[in-house]
Symmetry: C2
Subunit: 215 residues, 2 copies
């Protein structure tokens, strides 16, 4: 049973919400309302990687697991936050930055990487200039068999995105991108929940991501 404080780590979905330049644009459109058909109802057009979302291995592998096939227990995990708010724009996050959290990883916890970059979501550089996961760090996460990595950046690495995604997703390290509000989480362990929509045979899903603090 869950009963602790819930912290919402999810970016809002709204008409023309920011997206990666080549991604489908977000549209939130009224389909009908109380005066036309007797109820308010909405048509949503959205990328599977809009805002706060999870990646499935199929995102980077034709034979990778699709989002509907991943065991749901993978999206309800014990986690801890890594404070990397000292990282500058376009700065690499290295293994050395995470050594302080190695003991949490070694006991099986997932990791949310807090850079504070989500505060730039409405700015042009949000998608191009974030701190980023280095290739050595992705390999380290894979070698450590981390279950899930969450980030408050829109993409783990904007230059080496193929190798980073393949290293993580190809080694069963699940990725949650576009988280927000991690400053509300303290240093203690918590339960992280980010359940994807059950989209048949595809590559990812927007999610409602939350931290449930222990009582």
């Amino acid at each position: 049973m869950i009963s602790g404080k819930i912290i919402d780590l999810t970016a809002e979905i709204y008409d023309r919400a920011p997206t990666m330049p080549m991604d489908p644009k977000c549209s939130v459109m009224e389909h009908c309302n109380l005066d036309t058909l007797g109820y308010n109802l909405t048509r949503l057009t959205i990328s599977t990687h809009q805002g706060t979302h999870v990646d499935a291995p199929f995102h980077f592998f034709y034979d990778g697991q699709t989002i509907d096939k991943i065991d749901l227990s993978r999206y309800i995990v014990r986690a801890v936050k890594a404070d990397l708010t000292y990282k500058k724009p376009k700065e690499a996050i290295m293994v050395a930055d995470l050594l302080k959290y190695e003991h949490f990883i070694d006991k099986g916890l997932s990791l949310l990487i807090h850079t504070g970059w989500d505060k730039k979501m409405d700015q042009k550089e949000f998608f191009s200039d974030s701190p980023y996961i280095s290739v050595e760090l992705a390999k380290w996460f894979a070698q450590k068999k981390v279950k899930l990595i969450g980030m408050d950046v829109p993409c783990p690495n904007i230059s080496d995105w193929t190798i980073i995604h393949q290293t993580l997703l190809g080694n069963s390290v699940l990725i949650v991108e576009g988280l927000v509000n991690m400053e509300e989480i303290g240093d203690q362990e918590f339960t992280f929940i980010a359940l994807p929509l059950k989209i048949r045979g595809r590559d990812g899903s927007p999610v409602r991501a939350i931290a449930v603090m222990d009582k």
Copy 2:
């Protein structure tokens, strides 16, 4: 912390998945793939009330709470399943049918109403002929201040839908519609999770709905 068995109560989202006749049609379309842009990515067009979904009070009240404003603790609740699989097509579900479960309601549990109607999801009568919540039952739920009602029918009542929705949503009884697979839940209490996407200012959201059984 959550650690029990997870039962997935969610209908699949796929291209041309069934919808209510007047609702936006569901489209799941490849936007790019590994050969075109180097990754698989999807554009999803979906009603806020597609398949397994939650209703916000704004669905039936212009001044009702919108889906992004509802306290998230409302979507992580202790619940029990009510077995109503004996109900026939187009048959009303009355207060008398639920009296067996009144003691659960009185101690604050939410209720998932299992009719088995989800097995007809691919048939034409799915949207027109389901067993339905009677007006007297909706009023009883409201008077009992039930936190959340989940159902495996697409709409709680296809004739009196306005009064039913207004009675429930207007009295802070949240509604989850289009659940599936309730036969996998036994008689014991469980934790029900159905977190909506954070869609700004709108009326509902598709969800991944699950039951987490106690260990």
